[in-house]
């Protein structure tokens, strides 16, 4: 059974650290899950680069790049847990995978070298949202033998890509917003609670979550969507208000709106499938603050 802290962070200041370690409780006690895991990988496919590496050295470089990619994505897309491929090996099944490949252009006398992303969600191939990008022109020194410089160039390119908000926008819109965060919600009228650790999600109230559901009402299958905006946390889970709900038999168009039928549509026994996605992600810039107040003493 996985364990997590259920004591408030400040308690670690109130009681000695060794004692705080005794204060565990189970995740199931609060019904809260961790963020979905996205595995990052890097693969050298370009024949001229590949042939100059020993298999061991090649895997080492691949792992270092995959680790850097995971680190950079974690900084920018904290609502997911980013893990490099080797570190993820043997762990639980990842929700998604983002693979970066170093590829040579085909059918050219002077092949350019590209960085190309491929993606998968639940093992199924998925559009990554971003286009392949040229790393070296056909007439450039492509660093096929200078491994150290190749690695530094790749690091720099990754940093450049992830610093570009247009690149991040495309990656999110094409890929990340399709990764399910949860398959259930709890209802605490008028709040919809997403059973994922809110502190990990760091979603500001400018973020928008999307629930896609299908429910069977009087023998008829009804599909609908709900847009949610984060407002707070309840028992460590993310608490949201409904911004909009659209289904064949119910429309809610007011922020904080509610209708008794919502509880029927989103909960058993009527609900047949439900998934929560991060439609728009705006990272909370200052965790531990709300409004103009600081909510932590540090």
């Amino acid at each position: 059974m996985s364990i997590r802290w259920c004591a408030p962070g400040w308690l670690f200041g109130v009681v000695p650290g060794w004692f705080a370690l005794l204060l565990f409780c189970s995740a199931s006690a609060s019904g809260q899950a961790s963020r979905p895991v996205v595995v990052t990988d890097f693969v050298i496919e370009s024949p001229d680069h590949k042939s100059n590496f020993t298999p061991d050295a090649e895997r080492q470089v691949e792992l270092r790049i995959a680790t850097e990619l995971a680190r950079l994505c974690q900084e920018r897309f904290g609502f997911l847990k980013w893990v490099p491929a080797d570190a993820a090996a043997g762990g639980s099944t990842p929700a998604a995978q983002l693979t970066l490949s170093l590829k040579a252009e085909s059918g050219s006398k002077f092949p350019a070298i590209f960085l190309e992303y491929t993606a998968a969600i639940s093992g199924q191939s998925h559009f990554p949202g971003v286009q392949k990008e040229q790393l070296f022109g056909g007439f450039d020194d492509q660093l096929t033998t200078d491994h150290a410089r190749l690695e530094r160039t790749l690091f720099e390119k990754l940093r450049q890509q992830l610093a570009n908000d247009a690149f991040r926008h495309d990656l999110h819109e094409g890929f990340l917003q399709d990764i399910p965060l949860a398959d259930t919600v709890k209802l605490l009228e008028p709040q919809v609670i997403i059973p994922v650790n809110a502190e990990e999600l760091t979603a500001s109230h400018e973020s928008v979550l999307l629930v896609r559901f299908s429910a069977k009402l009087s023998g008829t299958l009804e599909k609908g969507v709900v847009e949610l905006i984060p407002v707070s946390e309840v028992e460590g889970s993310l608490s949201c208000l409904i911004q909009r709900l659209l289904s064949p038999t119910l429309v809610v168009n007011q922020t904080g709106g509610w209708d008794p039928k919502i509880a029927v549509l989103l909960q058993p026994p009527a609900v047949e499938s439900l998934n929560v996605f991060m439609l728009i992600y705006k990272k909370k810039p200052n965790p531990g603050t709300e409004g103009a107040l600081s909510t932590r003493p540090e």
Binding site: S232, T255, G256
Partner: protein
């Protein structure tokens, strides 16, 4: 209990503390969710968020919070902290007590009914500060309490101190201080603090919006500098959106509008989108609203026309072509002409990658011809690469014959004005083209690879960067072809820096 077995090993005081904490902790399951130990009063502050359910007709009020219960539990924690002699924990408890009362006062609407909570909050915060005078969080919250109760001057002192402490939430306090100064109509100083917040937290949309608002109010001409900084750091969507939305501001002078449109064009050049869908995109539609603007309308129309990809006559893009000076560097950012050229080249590269060499060629040629006074060395090089990749050496020869005079002329102006980066670009372009054509020559022949490549290497040294690897490769080859083997070897043995000179395609 399993843990109790170990308690006998501890000092009596600690043992008592632990027993009490365990007892309290075991109560946690029985405490309702909103009051549980898993949640210090942090969650209560959701009332401070702008999206209150009560604002909508279908919304219902949330459960009232148990402030008294929360205060009671923190008081118990305070007692334990004191018992253990833990000063930091004591200060933390005072902080949370102050926060709980402050939130209670807020819930009561800050009226007479809230007075006891306000007084208690102040006392608790002061007690926290007596133990930890460097707690910026406490200083900030007390300042907010003072602001609510009309004690602006004291609030200002505290916020100033909180910012000066420079802890991890400095940007947050700076934004709060900026708000205070704005409410005091001191927009000039507010801008400084918003700038501090926005620059230290590039993703903080609120700080960014407030900074932009303050620029537009106080100093619209200064906005460009901030936006160029955003472009440089990769925040191109934000720079573009801000530039376009700022164009709506009344009373902007023509140079400011032109700079904002240039920032939008350069931001577009660093994005990934389908050019054929640009006119119908949100950005295309927003830009199209300015087509009739007497100051920038033609520039906007030309951006839209460029994306259609059917008209490559330089005279159709005169608005942009006329806005650049060959012999002067722009005061900041790039000249409108050069910003537009960045966009043209990006579109060219995009079509080249899509294997539409014909269209790519048109874009590169347009960039080269956009301003007859100054040819575009980057586009010239891109076009040369395209010709060589397609084996069109005759076309490359023709291109050199046609544009060499302009390239030499531009290089001459750059030398006269000591524009080192431009000089490097001209040498690089000419050197590579001469190399492609096998015109190796010598260091005394300007119309040769050796002369131009040497110039590029020297200029790179001056700029403190390495020339592109292919410059070295071509120069070494040129030395070999002209029987200067020792020079070729020496050149190849020179150490290379990772900092490469000259613009590299980023898309």
């Amino acid at each position: 209990m399993r843990h109790n077995a170990d308690l006998s090993l501890l000092s009596p005081a600690l043992g008592r503390l632990i027993s009490v904490l365990l007892a309290i902790f075991s109560m946690g399951a029985a405490i309702p969710p909103a009051m549980g130990w898993a949640h210090p009063p942090v969650q209560l502050s959701s009332k401070a968020l702008p999206l209150e359910p009560a604002q909508t007709t279908a919304a219902r009020p949330r459960e009232p919070k148990d402030y008294e219960g929360t205060v009671a539990r923190y008081k118990e924690s305070l007692r334990l902290a004191r018992q253990a002699g833990d000063k930091k924990a004591e200060a933390d408890c005072f902080f949370y007590l102050g926060l709980t009362r402050q939130q209670q006062a807020s819930a009561k609407g800050w009226g007479p009914e809230a007075q006891p909570s306000i007084l208690e909050a102040e006392q608790y915060y002061k007690q926290a500060l007596a133990i930890r005078p460097d707690s910026a969080s406490t200083l900030n919250n007390l300042a907010q309490l003072y602001l609510r109760t009309g004690r602006k001057q004291e609030a200002e002192e505290l916020l100033k101190k909180a910012v000066a402490l420079g802890d991890s939430k400095q940007a947050f306090y700076a934004k709060n201080y900026g708000d205070l100064l704005t409410s005091d109509r001191d927009s000039q100083r507010a801008q400084q603090y918003y700038e501090l917040a926005a620059k230290s937290q590039p993703e903080n949309a609120e700080a960014h919006e407030k900074l932009v608002g303050s620029y537009l109010t106080v100093n619209p001409k200064g906005l460009g500098e901030y936006l160029w900084g955003l472009v440089k750091s990769g925040q191109v969507l934000r720079a573009q959106d801000t530039a376009i939305s700022s164009l709506d501001k009344e009373g902007l002078d023509i140079p400011t509008k032109e700079e904002l449109l240039t920032i939008a064009a350069v931001s577009l050049s660093k994005q990934y989108y389908n050019p054929s869908k640009f006119a119908d995109s949100a950005t295309g539609s927003r830009l199209a609203r300015f087509v009739e603007d007497p100051a920038i309308g033609p520039g906007v129309s030309q951006i839209l026309l460029l994306h259609v990809g059917v008209s490559f006559e330089p005279s159709r893009y005169r608005w942009w072509g006329q806005r650049g000076k060959p012999d002067l560097d722009p005061p900041r950012g790039v000249w409108p002409r050069d910003g537009f050229r960045q966009l043209i080249r990006t579109l060219g590269r995009r079509f080249q990658r899509q294997k539409d060499a014909k269209l790519a060629e048109q874009y590169y040629l347009l960039s080269m011809r956009l301003d007859q006074q100054e040819v575009d060395p980057e586009a010239s090089l891109a076009l040369a690469d395209l010709y060589v990749a397609q084996g069109r050496i005759e076309d490359l020869t023709r291109m050199l014959e046609q544009y060499a005079p302009s390239l030499f002329h531009g290089k001459g102006i750059a030398y006269r004005r000591s524009q080192a980066e431009k000089i490097y670009e001209y040498h690089r372009t000419l050197g590579v083209i001469y190399s492609y054509l096998g015109r190796w020559g010598s260091s005394g022949e300007p119309a040769s690879a050796i002369f131009q490549l040497n110039g590029a290497v020297e200029m790179a040294r001056e700029l403190g960067c390495s020339p592109e690897p292919r410059i070295i490769n071509f120069l070494a080859e040129a030395y070999r072809k002209t029987n200067q083997l020792e020079r070729a070897q020496r050149l190849e043995q020179q150490s290379k820096s990772d900092k490469i000179c000259g613009a590299k395609p980023s898309l």
